[in-house]
């Protein structure tokens, strides 16, 4: 039986790659396989090793051990200019003394492309990034977003087999960043080039990626689709780093399907945790959207419920976040769609935070 994914070509492969600086390990032994045309994000806090990994793929850093393969070619010993990649930096890295046209034409000049063809291709790519009239300006006359688009155009023009982006939107303000995220995604969809993207912004990663590799302390914490990382984090770090969540201390009372967890003074609940053992300690992770606030008489089947006290609420347009408190003072975050009638009811009577059993995630200590 053929795995559907194996018919797709593998574009990048890291094989037991490590990077040490003296006694400091920037990257622990890492394996990674990136499919052609995939948009993979390396996500993590500073010092997590994501930039080190990117630089290993780029050839800017030589791995201490292990191999890097690009398009079935062992490039571990190859200098960056021979690897056929493109790279976009946070600081744009445009040549200040050249016009936009010359900046974009640079890689073609390096490849000794004839003048006429250069002109044609630069014009095309400027259309592609939606900056058709800026060819003769200098970088310092452009806004941050425009400079970044020129930087991307400069990458695209020579059709690299792989584009690497090192926190490219970090220098832009929020609105511009969101616009550029859409731009980059659009280009990715249109051109189908493999992209490896580095960021510390989990929202950005969730918005843009086919797959995310979450990194922490030089190690890969979890790799999967945005959905996997959000709804099935494999560790407390993953649950904490991505999105908001409620985390409650829990101990397994009874293993099985479903498991029964002891939540201390807050009560008990059921959870799907097939690998858990009796008396195992850990945390119960709950995403805000999976929780609901109900009053006593509406306790449904197949749901867990805990008694809570209303503390605060934040209305952000169509959704409202409720902060509620358990008996022992731990806060829970509940996110629901804003509706007019229920707003008043929150303040009266006994409240319960309820969630479907499948939504709960039990993580080992």
């Amino acid at each position: 039986m053929m795995d559907v994914n194996s018919t797709k070509q593998e574009m990048v492969r890291l094989d037991a790659v490590t990077k040490l600086y003296g006694s400091f390990t920037a990257l622990h032994e890492t394996d990674l396989s990136i499919r052609a045309g995939e948009f993979l994000t390396l996500l993590g806090p500073s010092g997590s090793g994501k930039t080190t990994l990117l630089n290993a793929v780029a050839g800017m850093t030589m791995p201490t051990s292990g191999h890097v393969w690009i398009d079935s070619q062992d490039v571990t010993a190859m200098p960056p200019e021979k690897r056929g990649l493109g790279m976009v930096f946070q600081s744009y890295a445009l040549m200040p003394h050249m016009t936009v046209f010359d900046n974009i034409a640079y890689p073609l000049k390096v490849r000794k492309t004839p003048k006429q063809e250069i002109k044609k291709r630069v014009t095309n790519v400027l259309e592609l990034v939606r900056l058709p009239d800026l060819a003769h300006r200098k970088p310092k006359e452009l806004s941050g977003g425009q400079q970044q688009r020129v930087s991307i155009a400069r990458c695209l023009i020579y059709n690299p087999r792989l584009i690497l982006m090192d926190e490219p939107l970090g220098a832009l303000d929020k609105k511009l960043r969101e616009q550029m995220q859409l731009e980059i995604k659009r280009l990715h969809n249109e051109l189908g080039i493999t992209m490896v993207y580095v960021t510390h912004d989990q929202e950005e990663a969730l918005n843009m990626s086919d797959r995310i590799m979450l990194m922490n302390g030089g190690k890969a914490e979890q790799i999967g689709s945005p959905h996997d990382l959000y709804f099935k984090p494999v560790s407390q770090f993953a649950a904490d780093f991505i999105g908001q969540s409620t985390m409650l201390d829990a101990k397994v009372l009874e293993a099985g399907d479903p498991c029964i967890l002891d939540l201390g003074t807050s009560g008990q609940c059921k959870v799907k945790a097939p690998g858990a053992n009796k008396n195992q300690s850990g945390k119960l992770v709950l995403r805000p959207e999976t929780l609901r606030l109900i009053t006593n008489d509406q306790l449904p089947d197949g749901f867990n419920a805990l008694s809570v006290r209303y503390k605060d609420s934040l209305v952000t347009g169509g959704t409202t976040k409720y902060i509620v408190e358990l008996e022992n003072g731990t806060e829970m975050i509940v996110q629901e769609l804003t509706t007019p009638e229920e707003a008043a009811r929150r303040h009266e009577g006994q409240l319960f935070a309820a969630w479907p059993v499948e939504a709960g995630i039990f993580l080992d200590q």
Binding site: E81, G86, P96, C155
Partner: protein, 263 residues
């Protein structure tokens, strides 16, 4: 409005007086050079271009100026060709021994000129190098190379390393990147360094005394002889020319540095 303390005022007065002291020689020689007298007096009683005429007519002065000019020009060119790439290696490189290399290349600044002068003197005899101008150019270059390296390095540091990295990833070799990206952005620093190197070579005296052959008199050497044996008033005219040259170069360099592209 900040109240200026008495200390600040006193310091300012002292500082200005000190700076006037520093400018005194330059200021004095200028009016003196227009004196219409064979005697050295200040302030001059009558004014004329007499001393400048003597400068042009008296044998040796103009030829000395031309020699100094030629030597300075070649020294500058050689220093730039050696120094700018060296600065690039020192700023961008991370190879072992980089610090030692930097100290080695910059060491002439730390050595007394007489030591270098004697070293060249003995060495040129040993390798039988007798070509006068070549001796001067090579020796001056040792003295000017550190300046070129320091100014070029300062300029290269202002160029974002990522720009060079981006160019390399796009397929350009290191030399191509140096030529098309680094150099154009560093030209103001190189020009500044070159102007100073020229000045250093042109005014250089100690090394020149030891290294120049009997017939090759640079302008400073001829001035030195005059000061030792018989102080000629023509020196006022020459001093003015040199002072104006120094001042022009200082002002030029200040403007060149201001026009440097700030990233």
């Amino acid at each position: 409005m900040e109240r200026r303390s008495i200390w600040r005022r006193a310091n300012a007065a002292f500082a200005v007086a000190a700076m006037i002291f520093l400018l005194l020689p330059s200021l004095i020689v200028v009016p003196m050079s227009f004196s219409d007298s064979e005697l050295i007096i200040f302030p001059p009683k009558e004014y004329s271009f007499h001393l400048y005429e003597r400068y042009v007519q008296e044998p040796g002065w103009v030829s000395a100026t031309i020699l100094s000019f030629r030597v300075a020009l070649w020294t500058t060119i050689l220093s730039i060709c050696l120094g700018v790439p060296a600065a690039y290696a020192l700023v961008r490189g991370q190879f072992p021994g980089r610090r030692m290399l930097a100290m080695f290349l910059l060491s002439p600044i730390m050595l007394p000129s007489v030591v270098l002068a004697l070293a060249f003197y003995i060495y040129f005899v040993r390798i039988s190098l007798s070509q006068g101008e070549l001796r001067l150019v090579l020796a001056h270059c040792v003295a000017t190379l550190p300046f070129i390296i320091v100014t070029a390095a300062a300029g290269i540091q202002t160029v974002d390393a990522n720009i060079e990295r981006a160019a390399r990833i796009m397929g350009a070799s290191r030399v191509y990147v140096f030529r098309t990206v680094t150099l154009p952005l560093v030209i103001p620093s190189i020009v500044a360094g070159a102007l100073f190197a020229f000045l250093i070579s042109f005014d250089e005296i100690i090394i020149s005394i030891f290294v120049a052959r009997a017939g090759d008199e640079t302008l400073p050497i001829k001035m030195y002889s005059s000061l030792v044996f018989e102080v000629s008033p023509v020196l006022a005219a020459i001093s003015t020319i040199l002072t104006v040259m120094s001042a022009l170069i200082c002002i030029l360099v200040t403007f060149v540095q201001k026009s440097e592209a700030k990233p």
